[in-house]
């Protein structure tokens, strides 16, 4: 099966700055694909190259097997939902949505019929005559979606589409986007800096940083088995316990303690043991037997309602431990000496690369 979008050695330079550095990536047909990374990581530039708004400096870019590297945006079977929506302020909703069809040469009445349908699809029926300035951010967002989807793109590109919405609306739109994607069955390529959004919505995620593609995988893959230190730290929260590999199942931590942790890194490599706060536990010192543990002192505790987050000071760093708020959960006052322990399978070893 041909990939919906295929990038091979795609590089983009702006003068001396390398925005995207030799990326290889294949996005399957019908997939909800997220590109995730901090701002300036090259994810938006990558999306713009797929859209044709920027051209790659090097490499090959194919959409359903056709090379499109330097084709202008109007010659590509993709459509974009822009970050700021970019609705045409001098046109009403209907004209905005019908724009793409009219430009493709459809008659006014045919374009109108399809547009009304698309407006219904995004649940804005009856608002055809409104101007964009008379609509809320969420409604504008839906218009932008309808305007792109009405053209039946083979791939829909979304550039931080939910960034400008407030939390509640954002969650609502997340569900809505997912529903639309499943209903239409086309690939959505979604750019975001919000890891939670990427995790909840996507079939697969590509994590980028400084122009490089660090890891591509399912949300579970990326959370459970991050490829390196950056991914482990960027996706969710984690404690990175520094150390060196001693053998394939032991890491020697910075304080000299040996803990059980599997890795395929060479002996002597400096690595970090990634310990997620919700997988660490806290207990009175001395009460932990067989399991891997480190000793420290409770620095402070934050009450979250459904959980308590303890910051525990070790000799050489601080770690966070999240204890679910279950009845009978033991309380540890600041200043108490405690042990932070975990199950041997709960940690994951990450290197720099």
């Amino acid at each position: 099966m041909t990939a919906a979008v295929e990038l091979m050695g795609i590089t983009k330079r702006f003068g001396d700055v390398v925005a995207v550095d030799a990326i290889d990536l294949a996005i399957e047909d019908g997939e909800f694909f997220a590109m995730l990374g901090p701002s300036g990581c090259g994810k938006t530039t990558t999306l713009r190259m797929i859209a044709g708004l920027d051209f790659p400096t090097e490499g090959s870019l194919k959409i359903f097997g056709d090379e499109v590297g330097t084709l202008p945006p109007n010659k590509r079977p993709v459509n974009t939902v822009f970050q700021s929506y970019a609705l045409f302020p001098h046109m009403n909703v209907l004209d905005n949505v019908a724009f793409g069809l009219r430009m493709q040469g459809l008659s006014k009445s045919a374009a109108r019929a399809s547009s009304v349908e698309a407006i219904e699809l995004v649940q804005l029926a009856g608002m055809e005559a409104r101007m964009p300035s008379q609509m809320s951010g969420g409604q504008q967002q839906r218009v932008a979606l309808a305007r792109a989807l009405v053209n039946k793109p083979k791939v829909l590109l979304l550039d931080e589409p939910l960034g400008a919405l407030d939390l509640k609306l954002r969650q609502e739109m997340q569900g809505e986007l997912k529903r639309l994607q499943q209903e239409l069955g086309v690939s959505f390529v979604f750019v975001t800096h919000d890891q939670e959004e990427a995790l909840t919505m996507s079939d697969r995620i590509a994590v980028m940083n400084q122009g490089e593609l660090l890891q591509v995988g399912t949300p579970e893959d990326i959370y459970e088995h991050p490829a390196n230190r950056f991914v482990a730290d960027f996706i969710g929260q984690t404690n990175l316990l520094e150390g060196t590999v001693e053998d394939s199942s032991t890491v020697c931590l910075a304080n000299g303690a040996r803990v059980q942790a599997r890795s395929d890194k060479a002996v002597g490599t400096s690595v970090a043991v990634s310990l997620r706060p919700e997988r660490a536990h806290i207990a009175a010192q001395g009460s932990v037997d067989e399991r891997p543990a480190v000793d420290g002192v409770v620095d402070h505790m934050t009450y979250l309602g459904n959980a308590r987050v303890y910051r525990v000071r070790l000799d050489w760093m601080e770690v966070e431990v999240r204890e679910e708020n279950r009845p009978g959960a033991e309380l540890h006052e600041p200043g108490t000496p405690v042990s932070v322990w975990w199950d041997p399978g709960a940690v994951w070893v990450v290197g720099d690369e």
Binding site: L53, S84, L87, F88, F99, G100, M103, A148, N151
Partner: protein, 283 residues
Amino acid sequence: MTDSVRTQTSQRVLGLHAVFVYVFFYAPILILVVFSFSGDRLVGRWGGFTFDWYGEFLDNEQLTAFHDGAIWTSLKVAAVSTVIAVVLGTLAALSLERFRFRGQRVFDALLYLPIIIPDVTMGIMMLIFFSEAITFADTYLGFEFAKGLKTVVISHIAFNISFVSVVVRARLAGMDSRLEEAAMDLYATRWQTFAHVTFPQILPGVLGGALLALTLSLDDVVVTQFAAGPGATTLPVFVFSLIRRGVTPMINAVSVVMLVASLLLIALMLLADGLRSVADKSS
């Protein structure tokens, strides 16, 4: 207590200041209008109410004759130079805002020169340029042309391009360039993008630039005097020459007519703008 006294005092001072400003602005206009109805031959001495000066103005062949009267000359020059300057100025603004090309910064700097150069300098430049051009055309290209209406129009286009492009550029800079990207993403060609998205967005700037160009062209005395040949006397140049022959309240009458014409133009603009926003809301 002292605070409220202080606010009161400062408000009074500010109010007085405003009154002064308005007097300074509008008293001369008021005086002009009042004395255009004065029966005395001397400007500034009230001689009873009369419409005589307006009559004399209408009867003045040099002013009102169809085709070659000063008023018609002015209108023709203003209309032609505005249309051409708006097209060229808008294109210049687009090229500077939306494209990158070799020599762009030089072009950018040179484009604003006519705004900075004093009118007199510009006028003398035009004078020398046209006399050289006439000689050149005569000796090398083998066709003759003389200074006249055409040279006035050309000189007005020359300074109006700068003003139009400044106004249009400001509007372009304020426009979200993503709108153009969105249009191209939605299958519009470059030309369709300009026609359906860019142009409607910069239209207020283009109209503003056109109004400015029209006003500047109707106003100009200095450059026109240097560039004009026989048979190309515009209204301001004619008024100026009247003053040399001794001022009569007819000049007041002419000025009042010009004033009313500009006010009408502005009122029309506002009305069109108001109608458009009403249409926007109701549609």
